[in-house]
Amino acid sequence: MATFNLKVNGKSHTVDVEEDTPLLWVLRDHLGLVGTKYSCGIAQCGACTVHRNGEAIFSCITPASSLEGDEIITIEGLSEDGDHPVQKAWDEIDVAQCGYCQAGQIMNAAAFLDKNPSPSMEEIDEAMNRNICRCGTYHKIREAVATAAKIK
């Protein structure tokens, strides 16, 4: 077991888990932050996407113990009142079907737009290609990322 500090959504947590425990399972099983989703566990689908110092990372393959000193932001901490431009755009465009992948989609989109505030549609497609939506909401995701860029 390893004890270390983890800063998630601006709050410090002392975590006592096996050293190889992925951030995903620390968030879900130990910190009660279940907005970050498990789906493939091998960095293929993006449902587990969170921000590490502003970068979108796959929390399912990132050991939590490697993140000491980093700023971790999850979907729960993306905004105070759910009013981040990406969240607003996701509501305006009414993106979700089942909704399970959408937290990961939103986190990926938010990190992408931070780096590229006025992307082309090609750049949106490229950036969002790393997240799978099994319901096939891709058209809406594309539209919502473009809308979020305008809200910003």
């Binding site: 077991m1 888990v17 096996e18 190889d20 425990t21 992925p22 399972w25 879900r28 099983d29 130990h30 009660g32 932050l33 279940v34 907005g35 970050t36 989703k37 498990y38 789906s39 493939c40 566990g41 091998i42 293929q44 689908c45 999850t74 979907i75 729960e76 993306l78 905004s79 009142d81 759910g82 009013d83 509501d91 305006e92 009414d94 979700a96 079907q97 089942c98 909704g99 399970y100 959408q102 937290a103 939103i106 549609m121 090609e122 497609d125 490229e126 969002m128 290609n129 799978i132 939506c133 099994r134 319901c135 096939g136 909401t137 891709y138 058209h139 809406k140 995701i141 594309r142 473009a146």
Partner: protein
């Protein structure tokens, strides 16, 4: 945020459920500058509300709570059902809270998600639920004001009497209205007066989904709950020996137990179980047929060549028609097993306590979950409660209760509350797939190119009847025979979004194009000709509405500019399934020498559209799903075990591969039918036919990506 309500409960999911309504309105969603209004939680509203029927409670504050009984897996039923109730109630949608109902077989019937059947089944009863409540609210206002009920109007939750200038909100009449009864025969609204139905209403769970609130089964946690993961055997095998020493040595694993043919690892959190699974050594031995994909390929041919089959429909004299034919066209088509792969893996919570049990989780069939638990535990079904969480996709996989059964068994064995979680690998290897099938088609043409005979033999592995014998072109061909034959395999199969038709439509619509080509006819004209025969001189009964079929065909031909642009190579497909008619045209253009799939145009007749956003979601999503699986989906087996174990080898369609999808509806004046499935079946055929038009290459097997004919096909990306 929600006000007032304090709770010590540690069930994450329940906390979210009780605050859901409060969050929805009190959230300052999209309106940071608006003044904060104290907003009641849904639980606070319900504590003072009067129940009018199983769907509807209204509180003295005027807030309306509508229960949605059917499991929500992305088909948007949790929004569209309440829209129908609210419409007839004349409610103010902004004052409506929606609550997912628990399983209640006394209040609701057909509380399940499958077969695109919820809306057609419940349309009338939802309308009546709203209309009867409106009736008694109006009656209560009439009595209070001493005016005739007939002079009272209701709009957006406000009841008014114009002559006396009296008005009040629903809440003011709830007390009296709840003592009154509405007549059996109730007048429903004229469809032309609908103000909610037929509009774009947002998903009621948006705020929770977009802020990561616990909604899904996997998000459910309870204090003291054990986590469990299960190792299941390859198909056709049983446990020979277990070495659990490595698994037990993992920190955080408390128990390793065997039940039936499975081994469960149990602990206090998920990750140690995933690690322990890798160290768990289980040896298996054959317990029946242990099959591989190459066995299936041989079995398919044996089935198609054997004389054995069940004749599903026979019209005229097929043998004679083929004997006298000027031309005979034959082709075989094959589709592989597929996994459902919903993004949320299988999971369920069970707490068995003596002769009672509590079940919570994602299920398309809550009653089956309960019956399964009752059988396992030998207790009455009424002692078992089932709470339905939001489902992270289903696609038919959660019609089965195998994962519920595991949670129940382990909870009983451990005498503790247990959540069973499947890994993605478990999901891909754990069974209940779309069956694999192979079809043999034969068509007989006369000198004039008329199809005078049609034969279809479907061979499936655990498929049941792999045909839909009364579907088009049934009734359009004078000599017609459809038969099926099945192989029973230990590999488990299950309904998969648009069961059977999800591959039959592709095979049949592609074969019909082969016949049209041999007959020297345009694909649209060829099908129209057949449909006119089914309409004017049918042979037997068509199992579809010929006019509605013609309606979507003509619409898609018009909207896709069929045959008008020589640079656009097109493929057509039309299909009827689950009471809904969908025609699609795929467009391929040649760019830099490569055929690029650019666009799919769809025309849908699902009767009246309830929620325009929801309908577009289902049509586009169905097409994306149909396209993705036709192109990439493939589950192959070696010795009873799937080769593809996760999304690195089992490819799902992604953003960059999705072309433009242009969606149209045909308003035929019918009541609404379902849309969860019907847009999917035609897509594979439209794409295969477009590829043929563009390249002259016929794709007779899925997945397309593994066929040589597909090697240089590119996929278009919409550029706005």
């Amino acid at each position: 945020m929600a006000t007032g309500l304090k709770t010590n409960r540690r069930d994450f999911l329940k906390i979210a459920g009780t605050t859901a309504g409060g969050l929805f309105i009190g959230f300052n969603w999209m309106s940071c500058d608006s003044p904060k209004v104290e907003v009641l939680t849904t639980e606070q509203i319900l504590s003072q509300a009067k129940s009018f029927n199983g769907y509807l409670s209204i509180s003295p504050t005027g807030d309306v709570v509508i229960y949605s009984p059917n499991p929500e897996l992305g088909q948007n039923i949790k929004t569209s059902f309440p829209m129908v109730v609210a419409e007839e109630l004349e409610a103010d949608w902004n004052r409506v809270r929606v609550v997912q109902a628990n399983l209640d077989t006394e209040k609701y019937d057909r509380q399940l998600t499958g077969g695109s059947g919820a809306m057609p089944h419940s349309w009338e009863r939802l309308r009546k639920a709203g209309a009867t409540a409106k009736f008694v609210l109006v009656a209560a206002a009439a009595e209070t004001w001493k005016v005739p009920a007939s002079e009272i109007t209701v709009e957006k939750g406000i009841i008014s009497h114009k002559a006396t200038k009296k008005s009040g909100h629903f809440g003011e009449f709830v007390e009296l209205a709840s003592t009154m009864t509405a007549p059996e025969e109730i007048t429903l609204k004229d469809k032309k007066d609908f103000t909610i139905i037929g509009t774009a209403v947002k998903n009621v769970d948006n705020p929770e989904i977009f802020t990561g609130k616990p909604l899904f089964g996997l998000d459910f946690y309870r204090e003291g709950m054990l986590h469990a993961m299960v190792q299941r055997p390859p198909f056709g095998m049983k446990i020979k020996s277990i070495d659990d020493s490595g698994a037990k040595s993992v920190n955080g694993v408390t128990d390793v137990i065997q039940f039936e043919n499975n081994v469960a690892v149990i602990g206090k959190s998920t990750w140690p179980l995933m690690k322990a699974r890798r160290l768990l050594k289980v040896e298996y031995e054959a317990d029946g047929a242990v099959e591989s994909t190459e066995d299936h390929n041989r079995i398919f041919r044996e089935m198609l060549d054997s004389g054995k089959s069940t004749v599903r429909r026979e019209d005229g004299n097929v043998a004679q028609a083929f004997k006298g034919a000027a031309k005979i066209v034959t082709a075989e088509y094959q589709c592989p097993f597929l996994s459902h792969s919903p993004m949320e893996p299988m999971n369920f919570f069970a707490h068995v306590q003596g002769d009672k049990a509590e079940l919570i989780g994602p299920t398309q069939t809550p009653d089956r979950a309960r019956q399964t638990a009752a059988e396992i535990l030998g207790i009455p079904a009424e002692n078992i409660s089932v709470e339905i969480t939001r489902l992270g996709g289903g696609f038919g996989r959660r019609l089965r209760a195998d994962y519920v059964a595991e949670a129940v068994q382990i909870s009983k064995l451990m005498n503790a509350p247990v959540k069973v979680t499947w890994s993605r690998e478990d999901d891909l290897t754990g069974g209940a797939y779309r069956p694999a099938v192979r079809y043999r088609f034969e068509a007989a043409l006369d000198e004039a190119g008329e199809m005078i005979g049609y034969k279809l033999k479907g061979a499936g592995i655990n498929s049941g009847n792999s045909t839909r014998q009364d579907n088009f072109p049934a009734a359009a061909v004078a000599n017609y025979k459809v038969e099926s034959v099945e192989h029973n395999s230990p590999i488990t199969t299950n309904a998969w979004r648009a069961p059977i038709t999800n591959f039959l439509a592709y095979a049949e619509q592609s074969f019909l194009d082969e016949v049209a080509l041999e007959a020297g006819k345009d694909p649209v004209e060829f099908r129209l000709n057949l449909l006119n025969k089914a309409k004017n001189s049918p042979t037997g009964e068509p199992g579809y509405d010929v006019d509605r079929m013609i309606g979507v065909l003509n619409t898609v031909a018009e909207k896709s500019n069929w045959g008008k642009n020589p640079n656009v190579k097109q493929g057509l497909s039309i299909y009827f399934s689950h009471r809904t008619y969908v025609a699609q045209v795929a467009d391929i253009e040649i760019e830099n020498g490569s055929p690029v799939l650019k666009k799919i145009t769809a025309a849908t007749d699902c009767g009246m559209v309830v929620n325009t956003t929801g309908a577009n979601h289902q049509v586009r999503g169905g097409i994306v799903d149909g396209m993705g699986h036709a192109m990439y989906g493939n589950l192959t087996f070696v010795d009873g075990l799937p080769t593809q174990k996760n999304f690195d080898s089992y490819k799902l369609i992604r953003m960059k591969e999705v072309p433009e999808i242009d969606v149209h509806y045909v308003d035929s004046g019918y009541d609404p039918t379902g849309l969860g499935e019907p847009a999917l079946p035609p897509t594979g055929g439209a794409i295969a036919n477009a590829i043929f038009t563009a390249t002259g290459r016929r794709l007779r097997s899925q997945p397309f990506i593994e066929q040589e004919e597909f090697s240089d096909i590119k996929l278009g990306i919409r550029r706005a």
